[in-house]
């Protein structure tokens, strides 16, 4: 938490900036300026907890400047006026530092500071967004680069090959941003963001909503029209909030911390609901996340944040469209119980979900939307298994011995971890949030480098980090971070100059199996989420690898597709592949007959 850092008064920030700028421009004595630096600037950096960043700045920004001053004025022009150089650089340093101290506002003080600076309405939202959103995008761009590695597109890891990935990262990043912008625009309209940011107490009509039923299930499979039904219900409702497969689009995105996100949603919440939601957050041990940026949370945590924030707004209708599939049972149950009991008495929850049979719901209405609601212009085929899958790769046993990995000193993930992963097996990888599920996946894929220990393939030493994505194919939870091409067929299996007959046949087989044949020439990003997820899975499995890791492969997918995937994975297993599944669906994990692979005490237990 940032509470222990000095809280600089917003007015003082401005005064300080104006004062220092005038001083720095007027004073031409090096001694005085040095005094100002050591007596004012340095202590302020220390007190506001930014001294490390400042020292970095000195090293990486001012040393080059100093050198180029020396080059230009001493070496080239031979003026030799050191006094002049030192004065100019010192002034530049002070100026830059003063601006940094003024603008580097701790996340938990952003809103109050900007408000006191007189920003409001759309300007406030824009500036807040500028300070907050880039964390999200930086995270995303790192994930996209990771996906290039995971798909084995990089080849041997070296500087040139890594640098070559740059242009390929841009397109998915911008596509993701445009999609988020459009989805978020809907969510902001539903939530009336301007009102939220204003923070006024609204005088809600005291007549309470009459809710017909607390929970209504909208049944149907993918493309049955249920999403359209939900959206139209929300749009026609006086106040309604829609949350889709990607909870990140329902998080406002401009509030810098989890705490401020929750606080701003609870401006007009009645005390009863507020207490109920608070106790739920406590059950999830959410307080530890309060100081974090919402986009650094895991998928499950984002889901909880998005749903509970929406509940705090007390809309008449709340639509949850396949969002809950990302939650494990322990997190899902208390939420669903509270909704069924009518704890949130002013809100009717409309739920569409593919894993309803796992949820054990008892108290709900059911509604089947009319078929007339056609959702898309395309006709999507059902997936069907093909017998033509072959492999050219011999089965491989992966063994980790005495593996150590930590992100930094604070976050130790693996300590002397040992595990032997055998082919002809499906493993179900489980572990609590932050235990290292995706870290293990990244180590096996070769995205992360182990600090010590040994990885061997068929008893021979092997370093996956050198050739990322060559032994293990890894499909992420979010498809949008791993789609790069402009046509689906090229996405599923990249065009090569000299394609062998087998390679071509493999592309056809996977397009056919995943029901993508009719839309093969279309742009992947133009498809709905369900299909984007299928494309990402097809693309990972179409590459012939000895191991596959699939993160939440059934996300957003109906039971028809889940059944198909189950049989496909069995088939791949019988061909000698090893498969690791990360999934919150108990049904899927049970039916796939997987071996348990759990993370405990910095070790991996098979």
């Amino acid at each position: 938490m940032e509470n222990n850092k000095l809280c600089i008064n917003p007015y003082f920030r401005l005064l300080f900036l104006a004062g220092s700028l005038t001083g720095i421009l007027l004073i031409n004595k090096i001694d005085w300026l040095l005094c100002f630096y050591f007596i004012v600037i340095i202590p302020l950096f220390v007190l506001s907890g930014q001294i490390k960043r400042h020292l970095n700045l000195l090293l990486f920004a001012f040393v080059p400047i100093y050198l180029s001053f020396v080059l230009l004025y001493i070496v080239v022009l031979k003026e030799g006026n050191w006094q002049f150089i030192h004065l100019k650089i010192l002034k530049l340093l002070l100026l830059t530092s003063a601006i940094q101290i003024t603008l580097a506002i701790p996340a938990n003080q952003l809103i109050s500071t900007f408000k006191k600076w007189g920003l409001k309405g759309e300007t406030l939202i824009t500036v807040l967004g500028a300070f907050t959103v880039w964390t999200d995008v930086t995270y995303r761009s790192e994930k996209i680069i990771t996906a290039r590695f995971a798909r084995g597109f990089v080849g041997k890891r070296n500087r040139i090959n890594t640098a070559k990935q740059f242009p390929f990262v841009l397109v998915p990043m911008v596509v993701g941003i445009l999609r988020t912008a459009t989805e978020r625009a809907d969510s902001w309209t539903q939530k009336n963001i301007l009102q939220l940011v204003k923070g006024d107490k609204e005088n809600k009509a005291s007549i309470s909503n009459v809710v017909k039923s607390f929970l209504t299930i909208i049944s149907g499979n993918n493309f049955s029209g249920r999403s359209n039904y939900l959206k139209s219900e929300i749009n026609s409702s006086e106040s309604g909030v829609y949350i889709g497969e990607q909870p990140s689009s329902s998080i406002t995105g401009i509030f810098p911390t989890v705490e401020s996100e929750i606080k701003l949603h609870s401006n007009n919440t009645d005390s009863e609901t507020l207490n109920l939601v608070k106790s739920l957050f406590e059950q999830y041990d959410f307080q530890k996340n309060y100081g974090k940026n919402p986009f650094t949370l895991s998928g499950g945590e984002q889901t909880i944040l998005a749903v509970l924030s929406a509940i705090l707004l007390q809309p008449k209708k709340l639509a949850i469209d396949c969002t809950l599939e990302q939650l494990n049972k322990a997190w899902r149950e208390p939420l669903l119980i509270a909704i069924q009991k009518g704890d949130f008495s002013k809100t009717e929850t409309l739920l569409a979900d593919n894993r309803l049979n796992e949820y054990g719901l008892s108290n709900f209405n059911e509604l089947i939307p009319e078929n007339s609601l056609q959702e898309h212009n395309y006709k999507f085929e059902k997936p069907c298994l093909s017998n033509d899958i072959e492999t050219q790769i011999a089965p491989q046993t992966i063994e980790l011995s005495d593996v150590h990995f930590s992100y930094d000193k604070k976050q130790l993930i693996f300590k002397g971890a040992n595990v032997k992963l055998e082919p002809y097996n499906i493993y179900h990888l489980s572990g609590s949030n932050g235990a290292g599920k995706s870290t293990l996946a990244k180590i096996l894929t070769g995205i992360l480098k182990i600090q010590s220990g040994k990885i061997s393939i068929n008893n021979k030493y092997y370093n996956p980090y050198k050739y990322p994505g060559k032994i293990v194919g890894y499909s992420f939870q979010n498809p949008d971070e791993q789609l790069f091409s402009t046509t689906i067929e090229n996405e599923v299996l990249r065009y090569l100059k000299n394609e062998t007959y087998e390679y071509k046949a493999r592309r056809e087989t996977f397009l056919e199996m995943f029901g993508l044949q009719n839309i093969r020439k279309e742009h992947p990003a133009e498809m709905p989420f369900v299909i984007r997820k299928r494309i990402a899975l097809a693309a990972t499995l179409a590459l012939d690898r000895s191991w596959y890791i699939l993160d939440e492969p059934t996300l957003g997918q109906d039971n028809d597709f889940a059944d198909f995937l189950l049989t496909l994975l069995f088939k791949l297993k019988d061909l000698g592949k090893g498969i690791i599944i990360i999934s919150h669906s108990e049904w899927f994990a049970d039916n796939i007959n997987a071996k348990k692979l759990s993370l405990h005490n910095h070790n991996i237990i098979a």
């Binding site: 920004a61 601006i99 603008l103 580097a104 880039w134 397109v171």
Partner: protein, 201 residues
């Protein structure tokens, strides 16, 4: 009724897109950092936002993007926020004349943009940095000074030799990125610049 609803929708979309476009500017800086690239691309977000939302919002993206960059990535970006406004204005000028419609025109626009930004940035480089910016451009400036030019002239010459290439590359990247984005996403932005330059029908 319908038009007010639509304009309200456009407004909300602009409101959600601006911070994200700022993040493109900052995010590309982060990618360049992760990949250890020897280049410095700081205006792609500004160019894309200008094409999608017009010059005013493009300028907001540029200015705020540079404020963020100066806090977290490169402290000197703050001195060049004026250049970002000019970039938005110039890109808008070219886009309105359909100069973002094919590769050659985009490259030429980029070169034009580079010449203008070189002129606009020069006073800052001279007044704030005395010509010594501590990067590749400072080396080029030193080179011209070595040839016997005055500092002021050297800064301009250095700008003219670097900026057009840099901006042409950035304009081309923005062009290719927009070309590979599905039209149904771009159509949500009711942009005349996109229509004029045939990014959407």
């Amino acid at each position: 009724m319908n038009t007010t609803q639509n304009s309200q929708k456009d407004r909300m979309l602009a409101l959600t897109f601006i911070p994200l476009a700022i993040a493109i500017n900052v995010g590309i800086g982060a990618i360049v950092k992760v990949l250890n690239l020897p280049i410095y691309m700081d205006s792609i977000g500004t160019i894309i936002a200008t094409l999608l939302l017009g010059w005013k919002r493009g300028a907001i993206v540029g200015v705020l993007g540079f404020v963020i960059t100066s806090i977290f990535i490169n402290p000197f970006a703050i001195y060049f926020i004026g250049t970002q406004v000019i970039i938005a204005l110039v890109v808008d000028f070219f886009a309105k004349r359909a100069w973002f419609s094919n590769v050659w025109k985009v490259a030429l626009s980029g070169i034009g943009l580079g010449i203008i930004t070189a002129i606009v940035s020069a006073p800052v480089i001279i007044l704030v940095f005395q010509g010594a910016t501590g990067n590749g451009a400072a080396l080029v400036t030193s080179f011209f000074a070595k040839m016997g030019n005055q500092i002021v002239n050297s800064v301009f010459l250095s700008g003219f030799s670097i900026e057009p290439i840099d901006k042409a590359v950035q304009c081309l990247i923005a062009f290719f990125v927009l070309k590979s984005i599905p039209k149904n996403l771009l159509e949500r932005f009711n942009s005349t610049a996109l229509r004029k330059n045939k990014f959407i029908d």
